[in-house]
Amino acid sequence: MDMYTKAAWIVPLLPLAAFLVLTALGRGSRRAGAVFGSLFSLAALVLSLLIVAERLEPDAVDYSYAFDWIRAGDFTLRIGFEVTNLTAMMLAVVTLVSFLVNVYSAGYMKNDERITVYYGYVSLFTFSMLGLVLSDNLLSLYIFWELVGVCSFLLVGFWYAKPKAKAAAKKAFIVTRIGDAGLLIGIMLLFWYMPDHALDFTTIQSVFDGQSGAITTGITTLIALCIFLGAVGKSGQFPLHVWLPDAMEGPTPISALIHAATMVAAGVFLIARTYDIFQDSAAAMETVAYVGGFTALFAATIALVQQDIKRILAYSTVSQLGYMIMALGLGSLTGGIFHLFTHAFFKALLFLGAGSIIHAVHTQNIKEMGGLGTRMKLTAWTFAIGALALSGIPPFSGFWSKDLILTAAYESNPLLFFVGLAAAFCTALYMTRLFILVFMGKPGAASAAAHEAPRSMTVPLVALAVPAAIAGFVETPWNGWFGSWLSGHQEPAHGSAAAIIASIAVSVLGLYVGWLVYGRRSIGRITLAERSPWLYKLLERGYFVDELYAAAVVKPIKLAGQLLILFDEFIVGGLVRAAGAATSSAGRLAARLQNGQTQTYGLAAVIGLVILVAALVGRRFLP
């Protein structure tokens, strides 16, 4: 019955094996990376799908296995894995995207010198991400959480010869560290306050059931906010979103895998995994909802004016992650996870499509593209499916998940409902702009020599376009199957005609306005830039958040660093130098006694004798 579920621990070990093999091979074999990476991730994918198939049976129960890892005094740390419907779904999503990215990279990274290293990193990342998903307690989740952060750092800075890539990798690492510190504090607080210091999710679930009262509300809120800080860092929520757009310096398949589908969704997954803590604290839930809603709109407006295709998609990712976080904050676990599920497909599809375009035209500036639709038919079609899904046009997957979130907002928080609608409008607008500028119109400066990508790159596009189009049907307003499966109890079909109509209306309106501005050009596209250049500039620079951080955080810290360098150089270094100088001058002084002059030695002996005699004689006169 649950044979595959019991073997779930094998899933992360497969990519780990690939990583070890590739590391052992080194740079020697160029084809080995693609072969091993793809084969092992395919095996992981098959196993994950088998697990999901088992979980689909109605009487499937959560399975967990753990053994004692560390014993310290009366505290025992158990480590193991847990398979629930949520983790099974995440397993399938991660392994599917990982496998397709592995295949895709065979074409995209073909001419890269360090392709084997690249595949090693990707496999290591897949291992860490799967480990994170399967973890049955917060501590091992935290370990894998840091591991995916390291892999993200390695892969963003993969082309470390580029100064921008190096800076982006550092930025990604440091900014997410802020969130990680919050998560660590949250875990320590939990450790401190939990009965028996338990950190596994099952116990957390039973302690935070809303009535046990083992932990006071204040502490619960504090713990929830600390954990949320971790999610803010990893999932690129305001104000820690700044690393995600810069992380686009990494190879594009990495952006699809790590910075669109899996790692950035880890924050959402974390909240979902510790959802009981959040549900115990109304204040924390509200914070989560407002941060998510604000980020969704905030990032969507920035995406409106960006010129770099990957940065548009990155800000879009930030915005969509904001949607998920908002859904969780509004109490709709299903909405958040459902959007995570569909977003993984269509955003990975969009990034891989963008990679295919960049591969063809060798630029990322959408102003230099144009008219690519006729030259790259397959890319254009699959990209269109992804764009429609992202814009929330029925019947594509994104519509259903976004609609679920908007319905949740409509029912509980009108303000966030309108924020969500505004963000949805911006989303449809910037995707239309992106699509028209890239694929339609006159060929741009860079699109002359464009050609369709090789098969290894187009096949994953098609493979992702299918779920991007239809994955939404697992949960529709009249069919709450996904939610029931996820939560384990029957969820009522929810449906609010007003929310659906509003959701469709803003998306279509966004599409239409986009078409008017960029397609038919009946509204001048430079109007905004000309009429209010400050607004355009504000959006283009992302509300100057980077500049603000540079002035408020980076500069003072650098200044403090320079002061500390001076302290180090003159005070600490001075002490060290003084100690050295004292020793060597003492040595020089002693060396001068050893001058080889018999007479000096003799004099020293006489002086010593005189002192000895004086001491012996002088003692008599002492009392």
Partner: protein, 100 residues
């Protein structure tokens, strides 16, 4: 009587010591050494005549000392000549082989 002999011997010894430690010429240093030995001899003789237990041992002992001093002077001068042949100088501050 004894203190005046001892004082003379002490003065002689100090002059010899001063010369042995300060003079740069090795011949003078050897002479100073002889001076110190003679001061000792003076002490021996003085004690043998005016000491608490007068006896001849001190005088005989001083004869021994004179003999040994003569041998020492002969060897010292021989070394000095050898050094002078080797180094072309008898300045004692240039003989600093022990330093190397």
């Amino acid at each position: 009587m004894l203190p005046s002999y001892l004082t003379l011997a002490a003065i002689l010894f100090c002059i010899g010591l001063y010369g042995a430690l300060v003079k740069r010429n090795a011949v003078i240093v050897l002479l100073s050494l002889e001076l110190m030995l003679n001061a000792v001899n003076l002490n021996l003789v003085a004690f043998s005549k005016y000491g608490v237990v007068p006896s001849l041992t001190g005088q005989i002992f001083s004869l021994f000392t004179i003999t040994v001093a003569a041998a020492e002077a002969a060897i010292g001068v021989a070394i000095l000549i050898a050094l002078f042949r080797l180094r072309g100088t008898v300045k004692i501050d240039e003989f600093d082989e022990m330093r190397r």
